[in-house]
């Protein structure tokens, strides 16, 4: 054999295989760490409380759908799902209506001070808002309506939209707008008809992340939501009662909360990644 092939050609593929096998092992171990909690959530959601405790049979058990039927029948998750969707969707849309022009102006007129003001919103501890908002919203008579939840969630989304959109608008060459101005297009028309269509991917990113943050928000929901507007992160706590902790139900509830978010993220992943890295890609 040695006579037919030079040692180098023989050795190279073998070591490369070894190397790439090792590479894949490392990569997949990292991946396993990343997704394991999700796998565990799903696996546990098909277990009864008793099966959950049986550490001898972590994966070898007869799955039950009881937790899921509990989620919808006993704990009535349907309404919170609708509420969470509606609130996240509308608050995202409205936050975009406010946030996009603001981001554009910040980018074009270099209003850095303003972007700092919006960043400060993010620094205020959320507890600060709870009691004053409740008082204001009850004076307005909008407690336990979508309006109060939407107004609150918009405040979470707004700084995020600005953070993502300012670099995006900056990356658009000014010349495009200049030529529009020359053609007699007004500022707002230019913004709406020429600039915004160029920012599709950025807007999608900002929208997805705003949606996600609204969907996940817990603290505002505690105080501002009520029977008609209960959102999912609040509803899931129904599985913790005074005398019982229903782990299977908690996990089934968690699967239901995270599933839509995960689906959206997987489908639109390239937009999200692009948006997160707007500053870098611009370079």
């Amino acid at each position: 054999m040695k006579a037919h092939a030079s040692p180098s050609t023989l050795r190279k593929p073998a070591s490369m295989y070894m190397k790439s096998a090792g590479y894949y092992i490392v990569v997949y171990i990292i991946l396993l760490f990343v997704i394991f909690p999700f796998l565990w959530m799903v696996v546990s959601s098909f277990k009864t409380q008793a099966q959950m405790m049986d550490t001898q049979h972590f994966f070898n058990f007869s799955p039950t759908l009881r937790n899921y039927s509990d989620v919808f029948q006993r704990y009535n998750f349907t309404e919170p799902i609708v509420n969470s969707f509606a609130i996240a969707l509308i608050s995202t849309a409205l936050a975009l209506v406010l946030g996009l022009p603001a981001s554009y102006a910040i980018a074009r007129y270099r209003m850095t001070k303003l972007s700092i003001v919006l960043l400060i919103i993010r620094m205020i501890p959320a507890i600060t808002f709870l009691v004053p908002w409740y008082i204001i919203f009850s004076l307005l008579g909008i407690i336990d309506t979508y309006a109060s939840m939407i107004l609150a969630h918009m405040l979470v989304a707004l700084p995020f939209i600005v953070w993502i959109m300012v670099p995006y608008f900056e990356s658009i060459p000014k010349e495009i707008e200049e030529s529009a101005f020359v053609d007699g297009s007004g500022k707002f028309r230019t913004f709406l008809q020429i600039v915004l269509p160029l920012c599709g991917p950025g807007i999608i990113t900002a929208a997805i992340l705003s949606f996600v943050f609204s969907w996940n928000n817990f603290m505002f929901g505690i105080i501002l939501s009520g029977r008609k507007t209960k959102t999912l992160p609040i509803a899931i706590y129904g599985f913790l009662t005074y005398t019982d902790i229903n782990w299977g139900g908690l996990m089934a509830g968690s699967v239901i909360i995270t599933a839509p978010i995960i689906l959206i993220s997987l489908i639109l992943q390239r937009y999200i990644i692009k948006g997160l890295t707007a500053g870098a890609v611009k370079g």
């Binding site: 909690p37 999700f38 501890p125």
Partner: protein, 294 residues
């Protein structure tokens, strides 16, 4: 000058809706909190808030739990954030080549970041559970006999929570760096190669400096959020055991909604806000200085 086109009052028309909304939503709460921080009040409907001048702030200086909460808040950030950055960059370097399934991996990397924190807290709590949790079962299979009790011990609870945060946010840093790497212009890399630079040298000398603005921006947002961490602690330890995970946000919550000391809680919130503000300003200043030197 083309620039003049952008220097006019139209800009206020663009920003004022957002600005007005934001100011309405935050000014009243900020004023209310500041007002209450100089008062003593159990949220009573009978007794008005009692003006106590700066007593709340003076008490804060002597309050061990508050001082420890500040320390813990920084400790938590110091445990989580550097790990996320270093690990995130390292993983991005590792993934920065073509291989099968790269796109799927990138998609899956998004998941921890977007998952609902309350659920994340609950599932980790279940995994950490010393007797029925999978963490210790796996360690047991590896033959480890002295098993950690994770969230159950004051010594390990904070670190266990930091692991959750690291798990949640390292992939985001990786994705940012990865995207930056693929968007880098080729010439500097080529010329580095010609100069005989190793991969590691290229990374540190060329790639990271180019990505610095994005990474620092992400780090700043992360810093603010990590100082404010609430949902995950609330869902797992609620500040225990023995106050070992009581950060500033949790402490303010306890003072307000368990002790009904709303004036005192307001003082905690004001100081907390100022700390976040100061840290952020320091962060930006350091970044700017760094930039000038570059």
């Amino acid at each position: 000058m083309p620039h003049n086109r952008f220097k006019d009052s139209a800009k206020w028309a663009f920003v004022s809706p957002a600005l007005i909304y934001a100011l309405i939503m935050i000014l009243a709460p900020l004023a209310y909190t500041l007002f209450l921080s100089f008062h003593q009040w159990s949220m009573s409907g009978v007794d008005k808030p009692l003006f106590v001048n700066i007593k709340n702030y003076a008490d804060l200086c002597k309050d061990d739990r508050f001082l420890m909460a500040i320390l813990r808040t920084f400790l938590f950030s110091a445990m989580a954030l550097p790990f996320e950055l270093v690990l995130g960059i390292a993983i991005a370097m590792l993934l920065n080549r073509d291989f099968k399934g790269k796109n799927i991996i990138k998609s899956l990397f998004l998941l921890p970041m977007v998952a609902t924190p309350v659920s994340v807290g609950l599932v980790w709590m279940l995994m950490y559970e010393p007797t029925i949790g999978i963490a210790n079962t796996l360690l047991g299979l590896l033959g480890i006999t002295k098993l950690p009790i994770w969230l159950g011990s004051p010594n390990s609870a904070m670190f266990s929570l930091a692991i959750v945060d690291i798990w949640q946010w390292t992939p985001m840093i990786s994705l940012i760096v990865l995207a930056g790497l693929s968007a880098l212009p080729n010439e500097p890399l080529e010329s580095a190669k010609v100069d005989g630079a190793t991969k590691l040298q290229t990374t540190f000398k060329i790639v990271l400096p180019m990505l610095a603005p994005t990474i620092t921006a992400a780090a700043l947002l992360r810093l603010i959020d990590v100082l404010k961490i609430f949902d995950i602690i609330y869902a797992t330890t609620k500040g225990g055991p023995n106050f070992a995970t009581e950060t500033l946000n949790i402490y303010a919550f306890v003072q307000a909604f368990q002790y009904f000391s709303f004036g005192y809680a307001s003082a905690v919130l004001v100081v907390f806000f100022l700390i976040i503000l100061a840290v952020s300003v320091a962060f930006v200043l350091i970044r700017n200085k760094f930039r000038v030197e570059m």
